[in-house]
Amino acid sequence: MSVLLIAEHNNKEIKPFTLNAITAASQIDQDLHVLVIGHSCEAVAKSISEIPNVKKVIHVDDAVYENYLPENFTPVVIKNSENYSHIICSANTFGKNLMPRIAALLDTSQVSDIIKVISADTFLRPIYAGNAFATVKSTDAKKCITIRPTSFDPAPTTGGTAEIVKAEKAEASDLTKFIKREEVKSDRPELGTARVVISGGRGMGSGDNFKLITAIADKLNAAIGASRAAVDAGYITNDHQVGQTGKVVVPDLYIAVGISGAIQHLAGMKESKIIVAINKDGEAPIFSVADYGLEADLFEALPQFLEELNKLNTIQK
């Protein structure tokens, strides 16, 4: 049997996490087919056909698929699911929203957010905000799996020549209407894939004070993250939230500033390669996961940090 992966894209480009999901999917089975559903998204189908891991691209194109509503995507996936043992997509807000709707109609018990493929039916996944890892075996004939993207390397994007097959649209639904999307545009690296992330917490005290973080992020070419407390307080928008119900990040360097380190925040960053914590409370739980802890007032430490970075001859980008 083959595996079917649902691509996430914006009708122009493939979203980076789809590449990580492709790596995981091809660990389950080499015969990987990718379903591209969208509107005027030929370029996306073409770029996916060039990924060496991909054996076939199924392209379904219609205006009703422009805004990836799960009520419209689900019938397409169901219609094309017959010959596949696994239906796969990434466990970000796109896949989390879509996959359970598919699984329920296939009468399959979904395995969410896997971090390792042990075999075609057995997977490792974090539970309790990553405080435990469960090894689980799916007994359903057809399996629905979502992949934690940061646990798998992105697949290479060139060298493949998969065939692209056009497929018919499925029945459209009028249950839901898309109204608008407010995307936060930024020239910075994406939080989920950045090599360096610097995050601020409640200790920042105000949204304005985040400029101390921004200055360092500029210097390190870092993405900016935040704890839930900082987002709740209105210091920064929700797309920056790192944690159990926000984004999971695994950068080479994670710098936590004014973040106490609640279990829910640690769930989103504790797999980072190197963790730095800057906090004036020496007892803050964040220090228990930090490779380098600095007990200091962030309003003094951050300007000094920038000054020290300015003294360096070279900084990795």
Partner: protein, 249 residues
């Protein structure tokens, strides 16, 4: 309008979860349990809609062992009118939960079903979407704002890119984000009053739903531990370590 809210009893969010030595799960004996945090937001939103006059009744439903009733009592204490407890022992997967909720929806005929976007124990993030599929209702997941229009909802959703706004027909499923509202605390008089509110008990076997797990839990283990770090004395030392020891900048 009638709103059904599903609530789940989980290990309290402040508890440091420990894995059992035999690898069969996590320690739950003598551990503080509470309502799944975003389920509190779901109840709060339903009660606020009722207080605004746009809904007549709020029904809270939970599925689980006897003690799961505590979560329904709490919902009643903050303003739900009626409770339902579907009694079932052992592990129950989101697919089975959504099939049970489907039966409750057929019986109660709500116009809206609210629940938290994710339970903080199994972190599955599935039930609301599955229930929407089984009922063929629209789904508004990860909601941080809900506006009731004439025959529809306008919902702002928190997505990776920022915010998305959709309109869903009523009846609809909404899964709630923690930022939807600020859940109230139950006052002592309301906790007392809640004890007199109706709480219906249903045995899962009477619903004719297959709840047998489809996923075998082979083992549960501790995640790899990070090796202990060090405290640095100054910013200068920190930058030197990052440059020369960790080699990350």
């Amino acid at each position: 309008m009638k709103i059904l809210v599903a609530v789940k009893r989980v290990i309290d969010y402040n508890v440091q979860v420990r894995v059992k030595e035999d690898g069969t799960g996590v320690v739950t004996d003598n551990v503080k349990m509470s309502t799944n945090p975003p389920d509190d937001n779901a109840i709060e939103e339903a009660v606020k809609i009722k207080e605004s006059g746009k809904a007549k009744e709020v029904v809270a439903v939970t599925i689980g062992e006897d003690k799961a009733q505590e979560t329904v009592r709490k919902a009643l204490a903050v303003g739900a009118d009626k409770g339902i407890h579907v009694k079932v022992d052992g592990i129950i997967e989101p697919l089975a939960v959504s099939k049970i909720l489907q039966k409750i929806v057929e019986k109660e005929k709500p116009d809206l079903v609210f629940m938290g976007k994710q339970a903080i124990d199994d972190d599955c993030n599935q039930t609301g979407q599955m229930l929407a599929a089984l009922l063929n209702w629209p789904q508004a997941t990860f909601a941080s704002k809900i506006e009731i229009k004439d025959k529809s909802l306008e919902v702002t959703r928190e997505v990776d890119e920022g915010l998305e706004t959709i309109q869903t027909n009523i009846p609809s499923i909404v899964t709630c984000d923690l930022r939807l509202n600020e859940p109230r605390y139950a006052s002592l008089p309301n906790i007392m009053k809640a004890k007199k509110k109706p709480l219906e008990q249903i045995n899962v076997s009477d619903l004719g739903v297959d709840t047998k797990p489809r996923i075998e839990q082979i083992k549960v283990e501790e995640p790899p531990k990070r090796k202990a770090g060090i405290k640095v004395a100054s910013v200068e030392e920190l930058v030197q370590k990052l440059k020369n020891e960790a080699k990350v900048i």
